[in-house]
């Protein structure tokens, strides 16, 4: 097989293994009755605050922001993968195999990006009409690829964090949850970027979600295509940036593990 075909095969199988793992937790029924209900409730929770404030525009702002945030929440769950890997004791076997751990890892968790994008879109398209929001057809179709981009960028970010956090397994869930609320707080999900202090605004721009969400709001508000594409491009750059850092952190992890013996498979 050519190198490319081999890599594709590795990614394919890793993706399927990840998916099988996920489907052991969620059936279609529990995904819909558990996860989707929670997601819609989360979006409604914030949208209702808009209603309480008594401003439709604020309601829609919160609704869109929190729907798209769902894509990020799911993507960041990639952090849990490394804990699972550590618990399973498979990491040294992975490092000892002829495949690159980062390729395997990123493919294994990529179902999370797919799941995130689907969840976010479902949230938007279910909660939107529930709150009487107008989703302008056919422009709204552009939201689909943009949401996928946000999910992907968040997934890359989560994978980067996974490489960092791996050495401190006990803080894994802490990092997942603080990352969730930090993205919720800092990415223009609930208040416009202009409300933040300048420094935070800049920081917010290198996080996933922020730029992609701006593009999505642009689509829904009828902004001009150039602005939308500019924001989307920024989100893509952010995604590539985090993935590059993820790559570095995993290589570092593997070589450090070889040096200090932290690649453990003992009981």
């Amino acid at each position: 097989m050519t190198a490319l075909a081999t890599t594709v095969n590795v990614m394919h199988h890793a993706f399927r293994a990840g998916l099988a793992d996920y489907r052991a937790i969620f059936t279609w029924k529990s995904w819909l009755a558990g996860w989707m209900v929670r997601v819609i409730a989360q979006v409604a929770f914030f949208a209702l605050l808009g209603e309480r404030i008594g401003d439709d525009q604020k309601t829609f702002y919160l609704l869109v922001g929190n729907s798209i945030l769902v894509a990020a929440l799911t993507g960041v769950f990639s952090l849990n993968m490394t804990t699972a890997e550590r618990w399973a004791g498979t990491l040294p076997l992975l490092v000892a195999s002829p495949s690159s751990p980062i390729i395997v890892f990123s493919a294994r968790g990529s179902y999370l990006a797919v799941d995130g994008a689907l969840s976010a879109l479902a949230a938007l398209f279910i909660a939107g009409p529930m709150f009487g929001m107008d989703l302008p057809w056919p422009r709204v179709v552009a939201v689909v690829p943009l949401t996928a981009l946000v999910a992907l960028a968040s997934y890359c970010f989560g994978t980067f964090l996974a490489g960092i956090v791996f050495r401190f397994r006990s803080i894994n869930s802490l990092v997942v949850l603080t990352t969730h609320v930090s993205l919720m707080a800092a990415c223009g999900v609930n208040v416009p970027l202009s409300y933040y202090p300048d420094a935070l605004e800049w920081f917010s721009r290198v996080l996933p979600v922020t730029n992609g969400l701006l593009a999505i709001r642009g689509v829904l508000d009828g902004a001009d295509p150039a602005t939308i594409l500019g924001d989307a491009a920024l989100e893509a750059v952010v995604a590539v940036g985090w993935m590059t850092l993820a790559l570095a952190s995993f290589n570092q992890l593997a070589s450090r593990g070889r040096r200090d013996g932290s690649l453990d498979y003992g009981a």
């Binding site: 590795v10 890793a14 293994a17 002829p98 013996g261 690649l263 498979y265």
Partner: protein, 315 residues
């Protein structure tokens, strides 16, 4: 002899835990294993077996020295080494519990760069070989310990490894399962694979290995044929006895082949280090009217002590 399958030269590994004194896990180990050999690595827990296996599997770097697998350096030439290796360790970890046995194998098959078709065929073949055909499509979490271990072995074989590292693969297996496992290991050797078997079980080492290296506290004590090892084991025996008086014990102490007698609350332990002496001692004890006599093999640690003391005599 051509290129050894595994060649280890003056390999050392020191761990430096924070705020604790450094630990020497491997101390100047040298060893060569020719292709097609089942080589036992025998030592008590903490002897450095796993450290050695880890270094050879490319997941741990040595502090000094070198190791090669089929001529490729395990530190620098990982790309060449990794496709040649199969790694199997005992216990329950190292598998994805929520996936089925077949899904686990297919996943690792892909990681070992098999094509989709090869993966499918190899997976099926291995499932049958290790006797998991009936349960292959059930999740690993439903498997018994023995089944998990057989799946481990199949996983190690999925890349068609030329060199296999087995680290305590029969830990916790029942005796029957362990015996089947050992038959399988012999078959693998007959297919031309080289196998390094780390174990703390002397009987296991004696029954399946072509040669055995004894390792203790990170140092190689000796490399022997299992026949020699078997002699050592059968030569050294100990006899626990109750109900004989001190005079009889004194008499036994004087017999040739008795290396020691220690008395302890009402009974005594007699140690024998010469073939045939056991029979004589037992006869004498029965004549003296001993109420309870029990013989047992020495522990691994005791054999080491003997070996270290005796080295250079006849081993």
């Amino acid at each position: 002899m051509g290129t050894p399958a595994v060649e280890i030269e003056e390999l050392s590994r020191v761990f430096e835990p924070r705020k604790k004194p450094p630990v020497v896990a491997l101390d100047d180990v040298s060893l060569a294993i020719p292709p097609g050999e089942i080589h036992g690595l025998l030592g008590p827990n903490g002897a450095g077996k796993t450290t050695l296996v880890k270094i050879l599997s490319t997941v741990l770097l040595p502090t000094s020295g070198r190791a090669r697998v089929l001529g490729h350096d395990v530190v620098d030439e990982t790309k060449a080494v990794r496709p040649l290796l199969g790694i199997v360790f005992g216990g329950e970890r190292g598998l994805y519990w929520r996936l089925t046995g077949r899904q686990n194998l297919a996943y690792w098959g892909a990681l070992y760069k098999l094509s989709a078709r090869e993966t499918k065929a190899r997976t099926q073949q291995l499932i049958e070989r290790v006797g998991l055909a009936e349960r292959a499509d059930e999740r690993v979490e439903t498997y018994s310990r023995g089944m998990k271990q057989r799946l481990h072995l199949a996983r190690g074989l999925v890349g068609d490894a030329t060199v296999l590292f087995l680290d305590e693969p029969t830990t916790g297996m029942d005796p029957l399962a362990a015996r089947e496992f050992r038959t399988l290991i012999a078959e693998l050797r007959d297919e031309g694979r080289t196998i390094l078997l780390a174990t703390h079980d002397m009987v296991e080492a004696e029954t399946v290995c072509d040669r055995v290296t004894l390792i203790d506290r990170g140092k190689v004590v000796a490399t022997e044929s299992p026949r020699t090892l078997g002699q050592v084991i059968s030569r050294f025996q100990r006899i626990d006895v109750e109900g004989v008086d001190a005079a009889v014990l004194g008499e036994i102490r004087a017999l040739t082949g008795v290396s020691g007698v220690t008395e302890a609350d009402g009974g005594a332990r007699i140690e024998v280090d010469e073939e045939g002496a056991t029979r004589v001692v037992l006869g004498r004890l029965v004549d003296a009217g001993a109420t309870s006599v029990k013989t047992s093999l020495p522990s691994l640690e005791e054999v080491y002590v003997q070996l270290i003391d005796d080295r250079g005599l006849e081993l």
